[in-house]
Amino acid sequence: MIDFLKRFSRNRGALIGALILITVVLLAVFAPLIYPDSPWKMVQRPFLPPFSTEGLPLGTDTLGRDVAAGLVYGARVSLIVGLVSTLVALLIGVPLGAFAGFYGGLIDDGAMRFTEFFQTIPNFALAIVLVAILEPTLPTITLAIAIVSWPPVARLVRAEVLSLRKREFVEAARLAGLSNTRILFGHVLPNAMSPIIVMASLMVATAILLESSLSFLGLGDPNIMSWGYMIGAARTVIRSAWWLSFIPGVAILLTVLALNLIGEGLNDALNPRLARKGR
């Protein structure tokens, strides 16, 4: 563990990423304390540019709502959807991939056909169709994103398990009379954790991008302020007030970038043998 932290903190990008992410998380958690009022509330004249009015550091949007408040509340949706959809995707992908890789044969064939099918469907299009038809709410959006993101998890876990189950220590466990479940959960999966963790951190980033894309298209929960919605709503006024689209985009960019940097840091720290040489 200490080794891991040492290796992780040696990666400057990963540290910066962690710093950005912690800031975003703190803002999201304390949003109601920073802005007790609803982010939908009109507070001033519309179209106030940033840094022009005291108390409204980022100005107001097309309907006179506080942009800074929107950003802070938007962080909550992004993080929740990113995290929960990743968890759900892991809940689908890890068992499926693990059973496919561990038991092989027909189970593997069936599970992989199923995964391949979902991987063939254009994932963003599927997410659009699902959310559109099930009506956009926070749970349907999260579920739709999870449904389109689990196939790579299943493939990764299957590949890891396939190579691990032929390792000699797994065969030794088999010879000791351990049950399949005990071998899978006690010996195989723990050794597949590092790549799963790395992938999960990158999936949160992708999920945030997906969520913002959906709400940009108008497929966000109409009761919840989100970054994608803010950009979508400001799109029509892009010629006169470009900063209204610019600011939430930077928020998405920074958050996603932070998660990617953390993912790379985790990858280097958890798989030291693959770490870049010459540094």
């Binding site: 063939t120 559109a132 298209l217 994608g228 892009i238 470009w242 010459g278």
Partner: protein, 321 residues
């Protein structure tokens, strides 16, 4: 296995996949709140109970589910994707009308991103650890983290609104009636920004993939054999490293095809590009489910076709299969 057999096998698989998507579509329609007749009535602007009942009978919605299912599936097999009340046109005609624009956009973006991705990825790998590598990988990391629709909007702000270099939307200049070379130039000008913004994200992926693949292959034993022969570094890189390193990139590019179509929805929406992505957005806002699901099916078919092409390319590069 021969190439012909492989293609046949892929085609058989593709048909199965498409059939499954059709089935999925059918269940999605029935999962939507309210039955299709009510949606259709809403589209047609009338909502009285009698009219809805009439619609139900006309489209067989009063029949048992399995009959409806059979009707739907056999319809799609005969290329009947339903009727769009909103646009007053069969869905298939709508899509065929819009498909060329999407193909042009996605293929341009794909070619551009793959070419640049491989070139930059190789350049980064060759300068591993030096500032050139850092610059390229940082750029890739940045584009990888940027929302596509936002890049598109910012490109409009910068290149159309502020600089006026490229048109902000559309497929051609309205009312200009260009002919010959002028028309081509006009189209290219319109194509540039959408293709660029769509391609940047994918370029970032290919840069990262190419770089790590080149670095991995560079460590392999046969590269050392090549050095022991006294080959020049350039020859080794070109002949031994690149070809082996490209195999995983080709596989990845095939898998990314689906995302390319998804990205097209966003780019076409921002640039009002008259393709099926834009059509999807329009049908979304109009709650035109027949069109929505039709586009979904066709985009899946595009992805499958693309996967088959990548498969063939892979077989041409790798003698082992």
């Amino acid at each position: 296995m021969t190439l012909a057999a492989a293609i046949f096998g892929r085609a058989a698989k593709a048909v199965t996949t498409l059939l499954l998507i059709v089935i999925l579509n059918f269940f999605l329609i029935h999962a939507a709140p309210g039955d299709p007749a009510m949606v259709m009535a809403g589209e047609a602007g009338a909502a009285d109970e009698q009219f809805i009942q009439q619609l139900r009978e006309q489209f067989g919605l009063d029949q048992p589910l399995y009959v409806q299912f059979w009707n739907y599936v056999s319809g799609v097999v005969q290329l009947d994707l339903g009727y769009s009340y909103r646009q007053q046109m069969p869905v298939l005609d709508l899509i065929l009308d819009r498909l060329p624009a999407t193909l042009l956009l996605t293929m341009t973006a794909f070619g551009m991103s793959l070419l640049l991705g491989i070139v930059f990825g190789m350049a980064a790998a060759a300068r591993q650890g030096k500032w050139g590598d850092t610059a390229i990988t940082s750029m890739a990391l940045l584009f990888y983290a940027t929302p596509l629709f936002w890049v598109a909007l910012m490109a409009v702000v910068l290149f159309s609104v502020k600089l006026g270099w490229f048109p902000a939307f559309g497929y051609e200049s309205v009312g200009a009636e260009f002919t010959g070379l002028d028309m081509v130039l006009d189209r290219l000008k319109h194509l540039f920004l959408p293709a660029l913004t769509l391609g940047l994200f994918f370029m970032a992926i290919y840069v990262r993939m190419t770089r790590s693949s080149v670095l991995e292959v560079s460590q392999m034993d046969f590269v050392k054999t090549a050095r022991a022969k006294g080959l020049a570094e350039g020859t080794i890189r070109r002949r031994h490293i690149l070809r082996n390193a490209l195999l995983p990139v080709v596989t990845l590019a095939g898998l990314q095809a689906g995302q390319l179509v998804g990205g097209a929805v966003l780019t076409e929406t921002v640039f009002a590009w008259p393709g099926i992505g834009r059509l999807m957005f329009e049908s979304l806002t109009a709650r035109d489910y027949n069109t929505l699901l039709g586009v979904f099916l066709v985009s899946a078919a595009m992805v499958i076709a693309f996967n088959i092409i990548t498969d063939i390319v892979y077989r041409l590069i790798d003698p082992r299969i």
